[in-house]
Each structure stands twice: as structure tokens, then as C-alpha cells.
């Protein structure tokens, strides 16, 4: 019986800038179903943090409730984590971010946790542009309660039960673009080559970054008539282009043909280099992104890759004008300046 992963690792594991191997970013052994797409996304998050040489204790993993929200236990075992209330991860993440703005916030949520019970919270965390990466492990069903259709299940898609879903679906990427998110992407759990650079760019982006990852539920929703099965997504996936994440220190040496390749510098000086599949797509235009998503939808395709990017959106701290020092580093006198200061503030409103 094995619920324990062996402790032996490959003797020649690569080492990152911090001197850590990937093993330093592992978590506990997954208890999800064998073949669950979520485990691949966990592995992609792990790999991204390793490649970015992020110190594990500088990361906070935030989640709600659901299969997806269990996954933070399965990666970055040396990081902070908060497994919060169903659909309420954005509030908890907001509070944590306000208290300590220096951490990397990785929110992990599912389609139920985001698009059903958490829809209200999701909408507002996008509007506030909280500096976080919000990963939706989107399998189109409620896997933890035996696979009922979720709010992201496409109309007509049928899970293991076999009955086509009669309702129209919520497209989280379109919603996020509409609500003002600065970084919006869609990916597939079975395509790490696309997913890993997306996560790395999302971590480097300041402000709210959404990655909606189609993640097949092998147990309940990997059927022939499901639009979120491994086979369906592989056959109908169409990427906006390929994508390189260029960390700050790396000198740019390769030259690309103009028009097809676009480079966007992020707030921290790193860059994303896009090799677009079509010239018509303009990543900095919300209208172009929406058009492109809808165009593919009409053809029955799933558009993946980076959809929209605006690195210049002000995040929550900027909007609120908070101190640049994390609150947990301020001393008592600064945090609680006393009744005289309070009186002065109150007076200013009179």
C-alpha cells in the first residue's frame, strides 16, 4: 500500500538560483482520483515556482472548497496556505494581501468555487484588481459531489450521467476581461508547455491575473459527449500563439519577424514574448480578445493561451493608497497611532 511517496529523487536533479531542486517545492501526496487534471496543474505551479526561484516561504496558497481547493496541500509544502470557506477565497486573499503585500499570492479555485457559490466574490476581486494569481481548475462539474454539471459546463455537454446540460455556461475569461482584469489566459492541464510559462508570467504580473485551466475530471466528466474531456479539448484546442516568459536578467538575443511576434514588458521588468497565431489578435485590446474568444466558440473550439494583457492596471494597494511597507512589518505606534490621530482624522471629515 502506498500513500507515501518514496523519498529518493533523481540523483542529477536541476538546481535553481536559490540552490533548491524541484523536491524543495513538493507537497504531500495527492489524494485526488488517478488521472485528475488538477494534479498536472499542481505540478505546473510547482515547476513554475522552481523555475522562477521563488523562496517557498514567500508564497501564500489560498483556496476555497472543492477538489481544486484541496490541491494546495499537494504542492509547495514549505509555503503558507489558507484553505478558506466555499467561494470566499477572494475575501481571505484580499485580507492577507492587505496585511502582507510582499508575498506571492496564488489562489486556487474550481469552477464551482468560482462561478457558482463564489461568483460574487470573484467579480469583486477582479474589480479591485488584487495582486494575485487566480487559477481556476475548471472541469465543468462538481467532482466532489459526484459530478453534477457546474456553471462552466457548456450547453449540450454531457457528463457520465449522460444528460446534456440545458443551461448556458459562464465564460470566466470573458467575465474577467469585462470586469477589468489585467492578465487573462486560458490553458489546458494536459499542456504544460503552455501552462508553465503562463503561470510564470502571471506571477510576475502586478495586479489580478486569471488563468482558467480546463482540467478534465477523469471520474465524472471524461466522456465522449463532454466538452471538457481529454480527447475533446485536445481535438478542439486552438492557441492564440506560443509564448515565452523572459525573466529580467536574460538578454534578448533572438529576432523575430515583426507583426507575428509581440513583446510586452511587465511591471517587474520581465517580459512576455508572444508568437501570435494570427495577426488579427491584439493582446492589449479587450474587444479584440472578446472577439477572438467568441469567434472560436462559434466554431466549437477552445481558444487557449494568453488572451488579454495590460501590465499597467493599478492594483488594490495603489487604488487604496496603502503604505508600501507590509502591515506586519509596521510597529505598534504606526499601526495604532492613538486616539489623537483618530480624532484628527474624524475632524477632517467634519
Amino acid at each position: 500500500m502506498s500513500f507515501i511517496r518514496p523519498n529518493i529523487r533523481h540523483p542529477q536533479l536541476a538546481v535553481n538560483d536559490l540552490g533548491y531542486t524541484r523536491a524543495n517545492y513538493e507537497g504531500a501526496l495527492s489524494t485526488l482520483c488517478a488521472g485528475c487534471g488538477h494534479d498536472s496543474i499542481s505540478a505546473a505551479i510547482l515547476q513554475s515556482c522552481f523555475e522562477l526561484s521563488i523562496e517557498p516561504h514567500k508564497v501564500a496558497k489560498m483556496s476555497g472548497i472543492g477538489c481544486s481547493s484541496k490541491t494546495p496541500a499537494y504542492f509547495l509544502g514549505n509555503s503558507h496556505g489558507f484553505n478558506s470557506v466555499h467561494g470566499r477565497m477572494p475575501s481571505v486573499a484580499t485580507g492577507a494581501n492587505l496585511a502582507n503585500r510582499d508575498l506571492v499570492y496564488i489562489g486556487v479555485s474550481g469552477d464551482g468555487d468560482t462561478a457558482s457559490i463564489g461568483m460574487g466574490q470573484f467579480a469583486h476581486v477582479v474589480r479591485r484588481n488584487l495582486n494575485m494569481v487566480y487559477i481556476v481548475m475548471n472541469n465543468g462539474c462538481y467532482g466532489l459531489t459526484k459530478g453534477q454539471d457546474s456553471a462552466t459546463a457548456d450547453r449540450g455537454s454531457a457528463s457520465k450521467k449522460g444528460i446534456p446540460n440545458p443551461y448556458s455556461s459562464i465564460d470566466l475569461c470573458e467575465t474577467a476581461i469585462q470586469l477589468g482584469a489585467g492578465f487573462v489566459a486560458r490553458s489546458f492541464s494536459g499542456d504544460k508547455e503552455q501552462l508553465i510559462p503562463l503561470i510564470k508570467a502571471a506571477v510576475s504580473h502586478r495586479g489580478f491575473a486569471l488563468i482558467d485551466v480546463v482540467s478534465p475530471c477523469v471520474t465524472f466528466n471524461n466522456t465522449a459527449n463532454s466538452t471538457k474531456s481529454y480527447d475533446h479539448v485536445r481535438e478542439h484546442m486552438n492557441a492564440t500563439g506560443t509564448f515565452d516568459f523572459v525573466p529580467l536578467k536574460e538578454e534578448i538575443t533572438t529576432e523575430y519577424e515583426p507583426g507575428q511576434t509581440e513583446e510586452i514588458t511587465l511591471h517587474d521588468g520581465s517580459a512576455v514574448r508572444l508568437h501570435k497565431a494570427t495577426e488579427s489578435l491584439d493582446f492589449s485590446s479587450r474587444r479584440s480578445a472578446m472577439n477572438e474568444i467568441e469567434k472560436h466558440k462559434e466554431k466549437g473550439e477552445v481558444l487557449t493561451g494568453l488572451l488579454y494583457l495590460n501590465p499597467q492596471t493599478p492594483d488594490t494597494h495603489e487604488l487604496l493608497g496603502t503604505t508600501t511597507t507590509p502591515l506586519n512589518q509596521l510597529d505598534k505606534d504606526k499601526l495604532c497611532p492613538g486616539s489623537k490621530t483618530l480624532d484628527a482624522i474624524n475632524d477632517s471629515f467634519r
Binding site: C36, S42, N222
Partner: protein
């Protein structure tokens, strides 16, 4: 790369590194699991079938399996395979009733075995159950050959050797001991259907041309002859100051034996650097543990005698130099060192010698005056004469002799039955799933974190005062269990079925040692560099699938796979399965038995 052909028995055989490295291809993981389960008799019989002398080899084997052990590539040290074998031998029940039944009705064929060592005894063990009448000739007074005369009792108790030699002699072998064969013609003339020569490499090298050799002769001994004399109790003492020349295992046996029968200041003197000594590292360790110093880079110059009696030796200190091909030259430094001594033991190698084979019989001799012997059939140029063990191709070790014996027995059987000896029987193989249920396998797939356990030793003072007291005590049963659990079960293979795979990556993500990849196919050298963890060990194969749905292939680097089964546990479609691969070398007569293949 082309898809791997796993129906070729040699592919999975090679994955079982220990079994592949063993000359006799003993199914090591199979018996280690039985030891962990306390089934010592069963573990013993698996060994006995394959290597004939588990008790002897569990103490004295050269262990080619251990440097090959996968555990040594992922952990600091390999599994103590050899000493686990001993556990099976020491703790088994009476196994006499499990020995082959010897037919009373003989098959009418007579075979002579010359020499009573491991090779000849293995031939006897394989042929006697088939109904052959076997005559065995040996110059010593008991069977076992070099296992008896060269391996000291403190490493191999006589009772252990007697037991395993007798299992074979009790098969109705007509043993003629104390009978030195001085003419092959005399044997040929007796009309045997086949003759097997397993006479070892009996001649120890001498330093005949070194000055003083003749004058000091009374106290200068050839190591292997001296060890035999001690074993048969013709020699009972040695001087206080002993110099042992040579750096092989015989030198280690000589020095440790000297310490037990009167030697006080015993030194090993070797020409090469210590790091290049031929002795097994553990045997060097054992000698050093008994406070025997090793002098490296000392080349013998002369035997110094006074009044016709040996008083010491002069050595020239040399310095090793290496050319660009790594070839070593020992250059004299000019420094001469004198070492006092009462006796010298020369353990500087041994040679084959066949003064008793008449050169006009039809057995042709080639280079180095060695008989011309076929590497596969062990047949000489005289068709009814076969060779095996050290006699065939020069000095090796017990396990190699056993492997030769099995193969020679096949040839002799085929020859006597009028079949073509060059046609060899295929190995026996079986591949069977080990799945018992969800997260449940027939084998202990959890990987132990333990370091290699050290075999406890007897008290040094007591051991040094008794030549027959065994130094190693062997593992106790708890240690044996813990050491057995270190085995990675490399014979439980990761078997991949392409058409079941949905490419969900679950196996890639769970694999603790990054063995599994899904990628575009390419040339082997290109693939090896593109994998998740570069596959730099070219001796280990890549397991490549045929094209999958996405056009990619599955590539698994066999090098550091822990056989933990997590890929199969995380696979939603059972495209991965853990299947036990049993590979057995087919022995004489076994391919004739009706074998019902397991179809499921």
C-alpha cells in the same frame, strides 16, 4: 527511436540489474522478497536451482550483482544481496526432500567429471536427475575443489561446504577422491559418452628468478598451495613475521590465515597502488580490520637469506605513472626498503596447467597453452570433451564456474542425445500483473529509507585465535528483513500499454525520480538530452512506446526507476501496470518437459 520490443526476454532481463550481472542469472529480487516474508527454504531453493551453492556463495561470492544494483545508483550503497543469500541458507528448514528425484533406471549414458569443484558439481547436479551415470575424479580427499582448499574456514565453515557438496554427491555420483588423473587418455579409454574437465587453474605463480629464491625455499610458499595445506591440516603453523606478496583475494586469505596460526607481524606487500588492488574492497576491509597493514607500490627485488635461511626481503619503491590512454607504468624511484620476515607467501596470480592431457588425443590447445573451448557450448575440439570453470578460460570465480557448469551440462545432454549442441534452449520467462486492488500490490512497493546494514562480526580476539571460527555472524532475522526491504523489486516491471493511455500526465507528475516523459520521438542521443531529467547513463535503456494519439511517444529512462508502482497507481486507465518478470536460465533437459504456458 523504434518502439521497445518488450516481448524480447532480454529487455526486461536487463532491467533487473542484479540478475543480469549474475553469471548464473539468479532471480535475486524473487528470493529477497521470500526472505522478507520469512520463507527461507523457498528462497534457498530458488538459489539452489540457479547457483547450486547458496550457503557457500552467501559467504564468499564475488558479488557482481552488488555493483550493478540499482539501489547503488539512487542511494549510497547497494542492497547486501550476498549476505541476504546467506540468511536463506542459515535459516532454512531441512530441504533434502525438495532435492530432485534421481531415477533408478539410468539412461545408459556415462559421463566422467574430472575435478570436484563447483563446475563439475554443477554438471553432476544437472545431469544426475536426467538418469546419467556419473563418475567424478578428484585429487583431494573431499569434494568442493578450490572452495575447500582455497577459502579459509573462518570465511566458509566446513559444515556449510560439506552440506552443499553432499546434496550433489548424494545424487548417486560415483566419486573417486584422492585420485589424481594423470592421463586424459586413460579416461577416454574407459569409453565414457562425455567427459567434463573442471580442474580449475591449479598452478600458483612463483618468483623463480628473484635472487635468493632457492636459498630461502624452505620458508617461501606459493599461496594457493599453502592455503590448501592449511585446509587439509598439513601445515599448522607459520613464523611470527610473515610477508604476503600480492593484492588479490588469495593474498587477503593468506594474510588472515597467517594471523590465526602464529603470524604476529603479518604484512601485505603489493606492487600496485592500493586503489588498484584486485581484491574485493570488502576483503581488503576485513584484512585491515584485523590490523594487517598493506604496503603499496613495493616491487619485490630479492629474497635475503643468511646461512641458508630466509631473513627478509628487499623491495624497490615504485611510482605509478599513467599515459594518455590511462595505461599504468610502475617506475622505480631507486629507494630500496628491507623488510624482515620468517616466511613469505606468494599470492601473485595463478595459471592453468594441463600436463595430464595428451596432446595427440584431439583436444587442441591455443594461445597461452589453453585448450580451445567454445564460449557457448564449452565443447573442446574433441567433441566428447567439455571444459568449464577456471579450466576453460582462466581464473574467474565460483559463480562463473557454476554458470559454466549449467551450460556445459546442456551441451553434454544434447551431445549424448545426438542433438546439435549449438542449439541452445530459450530462457523461461513469465510476466504477470501484481495488482491486488486499489493501491495494493503483491510486493512491498514502499521504498525503504534505510542505509545498508552492516553484518555483525565475531569478537576480534576470539576470531584471531581460532582458524575455524567464522568471522561474520550473518544478519539476524530483523536485520535481514530490513535489508531485504531495501530491495527495489526491479523485476516488477513497469509495463506500458499504448492504446489505453489518455496522456493525462498523471504518471509524469507522480514519478519520484522523473523517469517518465511524453515527448516527440527522435534519435536516441537527441531524446536522452530532451527528457525531464537528462538520461546520461547510456548503459541503461530507454523504454519507448509506439505513437500515441497526440503523435508523441512515451519515453521512460530505466536508469533510476524505483519500481515503486506510483505510475500505475496514478494511471486512471491501467495503461501502466506493474508486472513481475521472472527470467530463468533453462537447464539441461528442462526444455523437454511439457510446460503449460500461463495465458492470462
Amino acid at each position: 527511436m523504434k518502439p521497445t520490443d518488450i516481448s524480447n526476454p532480454e529487455y526486461f532481463h536487463k532491467v533487473v540489474d542484479c540478475q543480469y550481472a549474475c553469471p548464473a542469472h539468479t532471480p535475486v529480487p524473487e528470493y529477497i522478497r521470500l526472505i522478507a516474508r520469512g520463507r527461507y527454504s523457498d528462497a534457498y531453493m530458488i538459489n539452489w536451482e540457479s547457483n547450486v551453492f547458496p550457503g557457500v556463495l552467501g559467504r564468499t561470492c564475488d558479488r557482481p550483482c552488488e555493483p550493478a544494483c540499482r539501489r547503488g545508483r539512487v542511494d549510497e550503497e547497494p542492497v547486501a544481496i550476498c549476505r541476504l543469500k546467506r540468511v536463506a541458507a542459515d535459516n532454512k528448514d531441512d530441504v533434502k526432500h525438495r532435492m530432485p528425484v534421481i531415477p533408478e533406471q539410468k539412461n545408459g549414458k556415462r559421463v566422467a567429471l574430472i575435478g570436484g569443484g563447483p563446475a563439475s558439481l554443477t554438471v553432476a547436479r544437472d545431469l544426475a536427475p536426467l538418469g546419467y551415470s556419473i563418475d567424478l575424479y578428484d585429487a583431494q580427499r573431499k569434494g568442493g575443489g578450490f572452495m575447500r582448499s582455497q577459502i579459509p574456514s573462518f570465511r566458509l565453515p566446513e559444515s556449510v561446504l560439506d552440506e552443499e557438496v553432499n546434496y550433489i554427491l548424494d545424487m548417486g555420483i560415483n566419486a573417486h577422491f584422492d585420485q589424481y588423473v594423470d592421463s586424459l587418455k586413460s579416461i577416454v579409454d574407459k569409453g565414457y559418452d562425455a567427459i567434463f574437465i573442471g580442474t580449475g587453474a591449479p598452478r600458483g605463480r612463483d618468483l623463480a628468478k628473484l635472487p635468493g629464491r632457492e636459498d630461502g625455499d624452505a620458508n617461501i610458499h606459493v599461496g594457493i598451495e599453502w592455503l590448501a595445506n592449511v585446509a587439509f591440516e598439513h601445515t599448522k603453523t607459520i613464523g611470527e613475521k610473515v610477508l604476503v606478496l600480492g593484492g588479490g583475494n588469495t593474498a587477503m586469505d593468506c594474510c588472515r590465515t597467517s594471523k590465526r596460526i602464529g603470524g604476529k607481524d603479518v604484512r601485505v606487500v603489493v606492487r600496485s597502488p592500493k586503489s588498484e588492488m584486485k581484491a574485493s574492497p570488502w576483503e581488503i576491509e576485513d584484512a585491515e580490520h584485523e590490523d594487517i597493514p598493506i604496503y603499496e607500490n613495493h616491487s619485490p627485488k630479492e629474497f635475503v637469506t643468511e646461512n641458508g635461511r630466509l631473513v627478509g626481503m628487499n623491495f624497490e619503491v615504485v611510482e605509478p605513472h599513467y599515459d594518455e590512454n590511462g595505461k599504468r607504468r610502475l617506475e622505480p624511484t631507486g629507494e630500496i626498503v628491507f623488510m624482515e620476515c620468517d616466511d613469505v607467501l606468494m599470492a601473485i596470480g595463478q595459471e592453468n596447467a594441463f600436463p595430464w592431457i595428451e596432446r595427440d588425443l584431439g583436444v587442441e590447445f591455443g594461445e597461452w597453452d589453453m585448450p580451445i573451448v567454445d564460449k557457448t557450448t564449452f565443447q573442446s575440439t574433441l567433441d566428447k570433451v567439455f571444459f568449464g570453470g577456471d579450466a576453460a578460460f582462466g581464473p574467474e570465480n565460483v559463480i562463473t564456474a557454476v554458470a559454466h557448469g549449467h551450460q556445459a551440462a546442456i551441451s553434454i545432454d544434447r551431445f549424448c542425445q545426438g542433438q546439435d549442441v549449438t542449439e541452445r534452449p530459450a530462457p523461461g520467462t513469465n510476466l504477470l500483473t501484481q495488482k491486488m486492488g486499489f493501491h495494493e500490490w503483491t510486493y512491498d512497493n514502499a521504498v525503504s529509507d534505510d542505509d545498508r546494514f552492516i553484518v555483525p562480526l565475531a569478537d576480534k580476539t576470539a576470531a584471531l585465535s581460532d582458524r575455524k571460527m567464522e568471522v561474520e555472524l550473518g544478519f539476524d532475522l530483523q536485520q535481514a528483513y530490513d535489508e531485504a526491504e531495501r530491495c527495489l523489486n526491479c523485476d516488477v516491471q513497469t509495463v506500458f500499454t499504448e492504446n489505453k493511455c489518455i496522456e493525462c500526465d498523471a504518471c509524469v507528475d507522480i514519478c519520484p525520480t522523473d523517469c517518465i516523459n511524453f515527448t516527440n520521438n527522435g534519435e536516441e542521443s537527441d531524446l536522452r538530452e530532451r527528457l525531464k531529467a537528462p538520461a546520461t547513463n547510456a548503459e541503461q535503456d530507454l523504454y519507448v512506446s509506439s505513437d500515441l494519439k497526440t503523435g508523441r511517444v512515451m519515453v521512460k529512462d530505466e536508469n533510476v526507476c524505483l519500481h515503486c508502482g506510483l505510475c500505475a497507481e496514478r494511471c486512471p486507465t491501467s495503461a501502466w501496470d506493474m508486472q513481475k518478470f521472472l527470467y530463468t536460465v533453462t537447464k539441461a533437459g528442462q526444455d523437454k518437459e511439457a510446460v503449460t504456458p500461463c495465458t492470462k
